[in-house]
């Protein structure tokens, strides 16, 4: 078969752990990293006789996310049991939501990275709550396979967000995940840490091909085991390629084979077929009789909506409209999280130039945070301090190199701008002193004066270096200007 024009059609299922202090149905801690099976009780161990009691906080956090995703929120939502056997599922069922999810029919707009055109709208099919399972660890030591189960995670609240198949490329899928993660961190509902498993992604993908016989679709494949957004992108790209190849070989289309589950092998960078566990299972959903349905009053939804802080899209727009940043810079700042945007706005409010502040944040501040493993809240330099520093630069009192030294000093010691300048011996050089220094330098280096007169203005650079050796506080730009003037003045008869 010949090559055909095709579209990659992708839908995502994202599980995020909600930031509650305790689990969804018991009072055990959700803290990550505790020794195995130390954060458990009879409820999350599924011991006979134990009963779940809902953690209302999880519903509140889920509502916040659902509202931010523009979902419809019905007044009644209920719990269902999803029945299946697995060693990390101690009750033999997962408490989830089936036919009356907490929310449905929303969307998330993806910003155009170029800042032009209309945003891409990705529809959200539903977002519902469920409990997490435990973690299975398979040790294969010395030929002896051993499985260990850690139930610390069992019962942690998860929000499952399911998109419509609206994504059209692996890169777009990664953009979506970035934007979703950003949104959830602005909402403060999840840590979204893929390494710690607080965000997990499964993807459904197939190809729509234009053929002489019309449009056909390849069988849908669900991809699991992707442990980073980049892995999602790569796995989808690999899978699109693989499905195209397979279609060219077999010609099989959607409906002719059951939905397949494939796992991403990050080492080999391929997807591999998994055992037909998923497609053969019938979860026998039915209403959870141990819990009562949850009512969500419209006033409650309204209160959640009213309490929503500015979300990424809004803040990007504000940075462009109110502070004159270009969309690219606004995006970089917003992607760093709400605290950094707050810091930026405070810096500007304290009199710093917006563009200069944006540049400093993107370079010096972010580098410092990365090097020192700090959050913006932990940075020893308050926004007002940075603003003062940037004002000095703008006023010409400090040149940039010196300002960087002052900033580092402030970071290291927590000093004010003035104290840091003093400690570094940075004082402004008086005009007469600077004039005197320039005269001396010109007298001492007649060959440079000759070179400059001969048209080699770059020779002035050597003078600047010598000026700074004599007095580190001189402003190179002014040295250059004064020397040029002096040479020019000497030329005129």
């Amino acid at each position: 078969m010949s090559a055909a024009a095709f579209t990659t059609v992708i839908g995502l299922e994202v599980h995020v752990q909600l930031k509650t202090r305790t689990k969804l149905f018991c009072r055990c801690s959700t803290q990550f990293g505790a020794p195995p099976n130390t954060q458990t009780c009879e409820v999350c161990l599924g011991l006979p006789g134990s009963l779940p009691v809902m953690n209302r906080r999880a519903v509140e956090l889920a509502l916040r996310a659902a509202v931010a995703l523009h979902c419809d929120i019905p007044t009644l939502t209920k719990w269902d049991r999803k029945n299946y056997y697995y060693p990390d599922l101690p009750k033999g069922y997962q408490i989830s939501q089936y036919d009356l999810p907490l929310s449905r029919d929303g969307y998330l707009d993806l910003p155009d990275p170029q800042g032009a055109g209309t945003p891409r709208r990705v529809r959200i099919l539903r977002a519902h709550l469920e409990e997490d399972a435990g973690k299975s660890m398979h040790d294969e030591v010395a030929g002896h396979a051993d499985s260990r189960i850690d139930l610390n995670r069992a019962g942690t609240p998860l929000l499952e967000i399911v998109t419509q198949p609206d994504l059209r490329s692996p890169t777009e899928a990664r953009f979506f995940l970035n934007e979703l993660k950003l949104l959830l961190s602005y909402l403060d509902v999840s840590d979204c840490n893929m390494q710690e498993g607080s965000l997990r992604v499964d993807a459904n993908v197939n190809l729509h091909l234009d053929t002489p016989r019309g449009r056909v679709a390849t069988p849908i494949v669900e991809i699991k085991n992707m442990n980073s957004f980049r892995a999602v992108e790569r796995a989808l790209a690999y899978e699109a390629q693989r499905q195209g190849d397979e279609w060219r070989t077999t010609g099989r289309t959607l409906g002719e084979v059951p939905k397949q589950t494939r796992g991403w092998d990050d080492q080999a960078q391929v997807t591999r077929g998994q055992r037909h566990k998923e497609e053969s299972s019938d979860y026998r959903y039915f209403p959870e009789p141990d819990l009562v349905p949850v009512t969500v009053r419209p006033e409650e939804v309204a209160a959640v909506r009213a309490a929503l802080t500015a979300l990424p899209a809004t803040r990007r727009a504000q940075l462009v409209a109110h502070h004159g940043l270009d969309p690219y810079d606004a995006d970089v700042l917003v992607n760093q999280g709400p605290a950094l945007v707050d810091y930026f706005e405070q810096t500007v409010a304290c009199g710093a130039d917006a563009r200069r502040a944006s540049n400093w944040l993107q370079q010096d501040v972010l580098r410092t945070l990365n090097e020192r493993g700090l959050t913006i809240q932990q940075l020893p330099v308050p926004a007002a301090g940075l603003a003062e520093l940037l004002r000095s630069v703008a006023a010409g009192e400090l040149e940039t190199t010196r300002a960087r030294q002052v900033f580092q000093r402030m970071v290291e010691t927590g000093a004010t701008v003035a104290a840091a300048r003093q400690a570094l011996g940075i004082v402004q050089v008086a005009s007469e002193d600077l004039l005197e220094l320039c005269r001396t330098l010109l007298a001492e280096h007649p060959h440079i004066v000759r070179d400059v007169r001969g048209g080699k203005t770059q020779a002035l650079g050597a003078l600047i270096g010598k000026a700074r050796q004599r007095n580190p506080n001189v402003d190179p730009a002014r040295v250059k200007a004064i020397c040029s003037e002096l040479i020019a003045a000497a030329d005129t008869p």
């Binding site: 009879e42 161990l45 599924g46 011991l47 006979p48 006789g49 134990s50 009963l51 779940p52 009691v53 809902m54 049991r81 029945n83 056997y85 060693p87 101690p90 009750k91 033999g92 069922y93 189960i149 055992r275 037909h276 019938d282 026998r284 959903y285 039915f286 009789p289 141990d290 819990l291 009562v292």
Partner: protein, 507 residues
Amino acid sequence: MRLIHLTVAQLRDALAAGHVSARDVTQACLDEIRRVEASIGAYLAVDEAGALAQAAESDGRRAAGRARSPLDGVPIALKDNLCTRGQATTCSSRMLAQFVPPYDATVVQKLRAAGLVLLGKTNLDEFAMGGSTENAALGTTRNPWDLRRVPGGSSGGSAAAVAARTVPGAIGSDTGGSIRQPAAYCGIVGLKPTYGRVSRYGLIAFASSLDQVGPMTRTAEDAALLLELIAGPDPRDATCALRPVPAYSQTLDQDLAGLRLGVVREHFEAGLDDAVRQAVQSALEVFRSLGATIHDVSLPHSRYGIATYYLIASCEASSNLARYDGVHFGYRTDESALLRALAEERGSAAAPDEVDTPLVRLYRQSRSEALGAEVQRRIMLGTYALSAGYYEAYYLQALRVRRLIRSDFDRAFGEVDLLLGPTTPSPAFCAGEKLADPLSMYLEDLYTVTANLAGIAGLALPCGFTRGGLPVGLQLLAPPFEEARLLAAGHRYQQRTDWHTHVPELP
């Protein structure tokens, strides 16, 4: 009068007056257990040392004027599906034969807090599934009135223990009649409270939307005293009602004049044993003489009760019992034998089975070996009914009928205050008689299951004997949370009759 013949209320007074000690009462119960248990088999475990220690502590509290409640020092037995911290809780199943819960059921906590002496754990049909206590894997219980006969079930051990006078009161659980039916068979009082009246926390689940814990005693007054202790809101059970608990024992002497009693027409149709019919008819006359007015009432959907009940209960059970998989707790098949078998199969040329993996084998063998036939039957029934393609026709349909049954009761209670009828179609049957015919066993729940489906309260009371000397049970049903009305009617009836004072003669 011998100590073992005292009711809970009489013991309360005797203990308060200092006429008896908790230790004496407890010792009397233990002595009687030693005397009759070999022929009855009501208990799976008797905590002799623990009970005597609790009794001694109770006496100490009373002597110091710090009794925890009026019932401090009264012995009680617990159906062995109620979790007791540090003590095996088996559900009379091989699956849980070694299971020791790390926590107490809320009901057990409340009994301990009130100072009652926990005497032991009583036998039941495995996981409370059955109506004869013959499906028990860990013991055999017989009816104290006729040792060839079953005590009923599933709370057969609790019923037999109370009837045999080895304990003044016991706690049972009722999913489709499991308190009321054995109470009727054993000639005692059994109360199934309204769904949500008593916490289910720590009751090992059979069918979560139907299960309810309740007292089994010799008098309605005793049932009131125990219900007062065990009822009430529980933050650990989301389905437990937030209503305060009335002082049931203080409102027993209500005048029944003008009480509207509804006689359920469908409970007197074909299949009802003559002796039972006659005993219930005479009970009706007693109520008439107490001033009640009698009304004919129809519950048209009650004939679908059994089918509806067995669908819903089995569906929930299939999920509730999924946790018994041999992985986390309970019975696990012989692992080394399984590994040997797997190694041998690997040695042969056969390709590894994609479906029957080693893990699935572990599940299958553990469950097949440790769960009894009736439990397996219901798990299969429930699994089938919840499966894709059948869910609509079975489970959803059953939920619809359940709503109809509930509205039958709503309508009936719009016209009458209580409903009256037999508890069971016939008296206790012989051991083994119905084992080969589960359906006829299920039909013994005909009059009781609808109360569970509707979530209302029901009380079984002794109301006579057959010519052969077997007790007959009367059933009174009340609207949700009207236990006070139910218990008062039962109490007034017992003041007029002496059926509850008859004692089975044991060798």
